[in-house]
Symmetry: C2
Subunit: 502 residues, 2 copies
Amino acid sequence: MAEEAAVRAQAETVRRLKQDKADADEIAKEVAKLLEMKAQLGTDEGKQKFVLKTPKGTRDFGPKEMAIRERAFKAIISCFKRHGAEVIDTPVFELKETLTGKYGEDSKLIYDLKDQGGELLSLRYDLTVPFARYLAMNKITNIKRYHIAKVYRRDNPAMTRGRYREFYQCDFDIAGQFDPMIPDAECLKIVHEILSDLQLGDFVIKVNDRRILDGMFAVCGVPDSKFRTICSSVDKLDKVPWEEVRSEMVGEKGLSPEAADRIGEYVQLHGGLDLIEQLLQDPKLSQNKVAKEGLGDMKLLFEYLTLFGIAGKISFDLSLARGLDYYTGVIFEAVLLQQDNEHLEEPLSVGSVAGGGRYDGLVGMFDAKGRKVPCVGVSIGIERIFSILEQRLEASEEKIRTTETQVLVASAQKKLLEERLKLISELWDAGIKAEMLYKKNPKLLNQLQYCEETGIPLVAIVGEQELKDGVVKLRIVATREEVRPVARWGWLCDLSAQLKPA
Amino acid sequence: MAEEAAVRAQAETVRRLKQDKADADEIAKEVAKLLEMKAQLGTDEGKQKFVLKTPKGTRDFGPKEMAIRERAFKAIISCFKRHGAEVIDTPVFELKETLTGKYGEDSKLIYDLKDQGGELLSLRYDLTVPFARYLAMNKITNIKRYHIAKVYRRDNPAMTRGRYREFYQCDFDIAGQFDPMIPDAECLKIVHEILSDLQLGDFVIKVNDRRILDGMFAVCGVPDSKFRTICSSVDKLDKVPWEEVRSEMVGEKGLSPEAADRIGEYVQLHGGLDLIEQLLQDPKLSQNKVAKEGLGDMKLLFEYLTLFGIAGKISFDLSLARGLDYYTGVIFEAVLLQQDNEHLEEPLSVGSVAGGGRYDGLVGMFDAKGRKVPCVGVSIGIERIFSILEQRLEASEEKIRTTETQVLVASAQKKLLEERLKLISELWDAGIKAEMLYKKNPKLLNQLQYCEETGIPLVAIVGEQELKDGVVKLRIVATREEVRPVARWGWLCDLSAQLKPA
């Protein structure tokens, strides 16, 4: 056990050093950029005083990044739809008071809007609280929905690790009073499907239950008033070793060393059905009512996960705590396992890529009569997934297309703009994706090069001879093979036939 | 002419009365809501002090609205892709200074974020300025891209007319130094394709040119210093009659009555190639250099639009001014024409549904050396289009599905949860969209009702007998027709075959 802890601690140290290096690299890049800007300003003073950048912790998505992003979204959305989810959207900002008291210590990370008269507003911090507000406002007691949108946190960005101040969340939630653990199991199935589909490598989904944590704290002798703060210490166990967490509990938070040590024994445990059975027999824990409830449900959950065929990827892990205040039952988090990625320059430590849990009290906080709507949901941490996909693409030879253009309408000689305009208009009207160069007299070579650069597979060429003969030439760009001149009056049919296999 | 003006003025009065009524209805609704809330608070004091709503001028999109929204987006995106556009995305907020000095008087409508330390930020007001910032920052001189995202304006919302403080823009822009009017013509073609595709009824696209406007002001005797403010008066002509605009020019803005009357003669003109030819011969306008340039390009534009076969829907309209400061050349706006929509309860006055123009100087404002990147683009005003589509759907009998679920996995008797979980898991893994009720022992009737309510076409039923026989029953919900019991081991093939036609 001690040996394992030492190995863990060492692995942790290595991981952190790598992170520090990544951060340092990022800072160096930023400094270089700033120096460059300063140099520019120096030479051209008065022209432009401001810095040309996106706000801290945000970024633009160029065409290439968007192509990757849309691939990932497609996989995620098709999974959510496969599970019968509807989709909703809410405003990017909420009344400030809607967010108040939902995020505990993290509330300081909320972006407020300036008071410009009228309502006080804040940017949404996640999609869960707006969802709960939506349910309460519309008196909806039963829905399965997904929501993909950006959320905002004034956190310290670590962009090389895919952590931003503006980032996407992809949420799937099931609201309603149902038989225990059936929707909860479906949420885990969804995480499993998405991570498998995106081929991100090996992963494990850690599961715990807020009730088991609370029961554990109680039997370890943590006073009720310290549950939350001790819980947030435990939450750090995926980033820092136990010794540090322990000293925070005892030193900063005033927990007795004995209580801390008792917690230390529990939070090292992880396993499956066997561990659940063991804890159900645990002389202390089995005496605690909420812990017992949590363990009973955990057992049920594992039974369902076994039926889904995914129990092998799920780890019941007593160190999983998750920071958010609103969880009341099952909580979970999916982490990618470090792998030897030979084709990546340096392995990314991406950590958590999905998380979620049950929050049965949140909707009630918005209801005038406190009516509860039990909810369970999952959030896919898509930015980290983007980072991996981007890095992988960069390392690979794959050339990603950023347009879907099927045909370039080109001319072989000068003074054929009118003819090109007529031809391309026919293509657009027939639903064919087509481009032309915005020049009156482009060179044929330039037009062909444009096809090669952007991956347009087919070029339709009109020249003086073709005009006379009433034909259009079709050429396959990759092979330079001439299809054959097709009659001008029926060329759309020929062209459509040509495009079919593509 | 006088008669026409009188008819116009009368039509305007009717339209405005209708708008006032719509506004009054909206206010009445809001008041009713507030009273209801107050009543709730009274009976349950202390429980919930805050108002449960979205911020002023914003709204949630529920599943039904999202289904409509996605239909519209699909049509728009496929048009943008048909024209070979790449896609980009930028952050929802920009450095405050990025937006400064780009919107003239409208700058007061920008949402600022609270100064919480660090950079001063503002929510984006449109997608054009972030696009220009993106080009300058990345030194891109050549791109055709679309961008669909929400923008923010602290305007007075008129939500019944589809005007919000948070709303989507769907922008398509072409940046680069090209031969005149070819990209400009494509932008108009795009508007034409999208409005036709969405079947929003008859429309006209008004076109003008900032240079023609400036030339017109000059020859009418407007002092240089008053160009902008007089331009913004002209911009109101689509909402208020000429007499009002004239009195604003003369009264508030101190223009001489003679100059105003001269403007009045020009801004009543609209037409096509004939009008362009007429103005090219106009003794005063033809002497003005910028006006002549603008008219020459306008002629070229109409030639290209004729080749595209859409000149009939385009109106060269000297009253079109458009407020934004950054336009430098062609400007345009698409308006839906009022129609007798018998199936609509009251006709919507939706006005402009798309607009755009050329802005050759904007990117240069961000470049340290002032290097220009000529741009032209179009923005689709999707919220107004949503309003129409929503209202139309409501009036129609069509029942819109909000999920895509293909199969419900149901049980005929109790104690078959395990079997259902196994079956549904197989479906999901095979990529089939499937749902089940989250109950241990749901009644068959309830399961079938759920299919009917949500439009699930097929139900897979397992019962004790089926379990014994090793089969699954498939039933078509609409016809209640039993397909036949299919063997459990090969049921996925049978089911897939059954789903094909759907």
